[in-house]
């Protein structure tokens, strides 16, 4: 209860701050698709995907997701998403954490779908990258094993 209240407040502030500079064209998915990020029902990848895109049906292919087979450390998992599609929205999901949506990219006019980021994973799970091209969703998934890594102090 507290948490939801707090989140609402945070988003309000965030929205206000974002509105100030000239980012009027920006789509803030945290604001418009709050439920996809934090929704009480969106705990699985499918549910979050539906909240975000209206469907969870994806076609495998045309998207390349690179991630390690075994993470060196669950706190720093490098991810690389790339695609030649002319999609406008790219999303990254994972099922190792209670909420599954990690990030949503809005591809600008000059943008190229070639994104790298480093994410946290609480345990072994599958990372999924989705590119929305028109009304079709293309995806690629990869399982990343997370163990408590490294010996010695």
């Amino acid at each position: 209860m507290n948490r939801r209240k707090f989140l609402g407040l945070g988003l309000g502030l965030g929205a206000a701050a974002v509105m100030l500079p000239s980012t009027l064209s920006a789509v803030n998915f945290r604001e418009t698709k709050t439920s996809a990020f934090e929704g009480p029902k969106s705990h699985t990848v499918d549910e979050a995907m539906t909240e975000l895109f209206g469907t969870s049906k994806t076609i495998a292919g045309k998207v390349t997701l690179k991630a390690p087979d075994i993470a060196e450390n669950g706190a720093v998992v490098p991810i690389h998403v790339s695609s030649k599609l002319a999609g406008k929205t790219v999303a990254v999901f994972q099922d190792a954490n209670p909420e599954s949506l990690v990030a949503v990219f809005t591809v600008p006019a000059n943008g190229i779908i070639d994104y790298k980021l480093r994410i946290k994973m609480a345990k072994t799970g599958t990372v999924t990258a989705v590119v929305q091209d028109g009304t079709t969703l293309f995806s690629d998934s990869k399982m990343v094993k997370v163990t408590a890594g490294g010996c010695g102090g």
Partner: protein
């Protein structure tokens, strides 16, 4: 004062190296070359050499996770030299490593400390430590030299494992790497050779309740697994310190960086033994021996590990 000592010993070391090369370091050179030959042979083709070197590894592991024909220089990367699995993460994280800001902090530490500047006018010295001081007849580690410099200048000692110490050392390492320096350990006297031998004996002697020697895991065991950890090879083990470890930096980035001594302590504890004190003779002689085994390899610190 210390600068003079360093300068003079360096000169003497250089001179005696030329004079006595092949005398005091003859055994060490033999050991070094034998270690290179062993390591190269072992990783030439893991799958083919299974009977000799990897009797307990799975087919999948040997085929898909151990690289073939590794060059000597590559062994400085630790287990990432052979572990295909680890390489993706390593390369990605190395692309913009978490320690970059710490190297800059190290530069600030250096620029703000006149005493350190006077003791270490040359910042590209990471590959020259530990060295054998002939006047004092003992091994001097970089950590020891930095603290001695601070104390001589009336300043307080730094923690030998984390904090300012590895941060300054990261700056030295980065400078040395940029200047394309190589590991350059000399054995100038009979006493130095004896220190080297003691370090060697420590490395190869079984210790602790698990009866493991350093070599059990990192010579004979290199490339094998302990649980999910690929054991790194001895060759090149000291070239890249200080190291940023993801597990050390989990809560605070500044804690992520550690000196070689910090890493050694953790490793020796895992052997089931009380580790020697960071600045003890035993530790310094062990590091002296280990660094000699990486002689001629590129200094490539700081680096990042899991």
């Amino acid at each position: 004062m210390l600068l003079n000592i360093v300068k003079s010993t360096a000169l003497v070391a250089l001179a005696s190296c030329i004079l006595n090369a092949g005398e005091f370091n003859a055994q060490a050179e033999k050991d070094r070359i034998a270690l290179i030959e062993y390591t190269v042979a072992k990783f030439k083709d893991a799958e083919k050499n299974r009977d000799n070197f990897f009797p307990y590894s799975t087919d999948d592991e040997l085929k898909n996770n151990i690289k073939k024909d590794i060059k000597v220089e590559e062994f400085a990367m630790g287990n990432y030299a052979f572990s295909i699995q680890g390489q993706f993460s390593y390369n990605e994280i190395k692309d913009m490593p978490p320690y970059e800001e710490l190297v800059e902090q190290g530069e600030e530490l250096y620029n703000d400390n006149k005493a350190i500047q006077a003791c270490f006018p040359d910042t590209t010295i990471a590959g020259d430590y530990p060295y054998f001081d002939q006047k004092r007849n003992e091994v001097i580690s970089l950590t020891g030299a930095i603290n001695e410099c601070l104390v001589n200048a009336g300043q307080e000692k730094w923690n030998e494992k984390k904090g300012k110490m590895p941060i300054l050392q990261a700056y030295f390492a980065a400078q040395s790497t940029e200047a394309e320096k190589k590991v350059n350990i000399t054995i100038p006297t009979a006493e130095a050779a004896a220190a080297y031998e003691r370090g060697k004996e420590y490395y190869y002697t079984q210790r602790g309740y698990l009866k493991l020697s350093c070599a059990t895991c990192h010579v004979q065991g290199a490339g094998k697994r302990v649980r999910n950890e690929s054991l790194s090879q001895f060759l090149g083990q000291t070239t890249h310190f200080p190291v940023y470890r993801l597990k050390w930096g989990k809560d605070k980035v500044a804690n992520g960086l550690g000196t070689l001594e910090r890493r050694m302590e953790g490793c020796i504890k895992d052997q089931g033994q009380v580790p020697p004190k960071t600045n003890s003779k035993q530790m310094k002689e062990l590091l002296y021996f280990m660094a000699y085994m990486s002689n001629g390899m590129n200094v490539d610190g700081p680096d990042v590990r899991k």
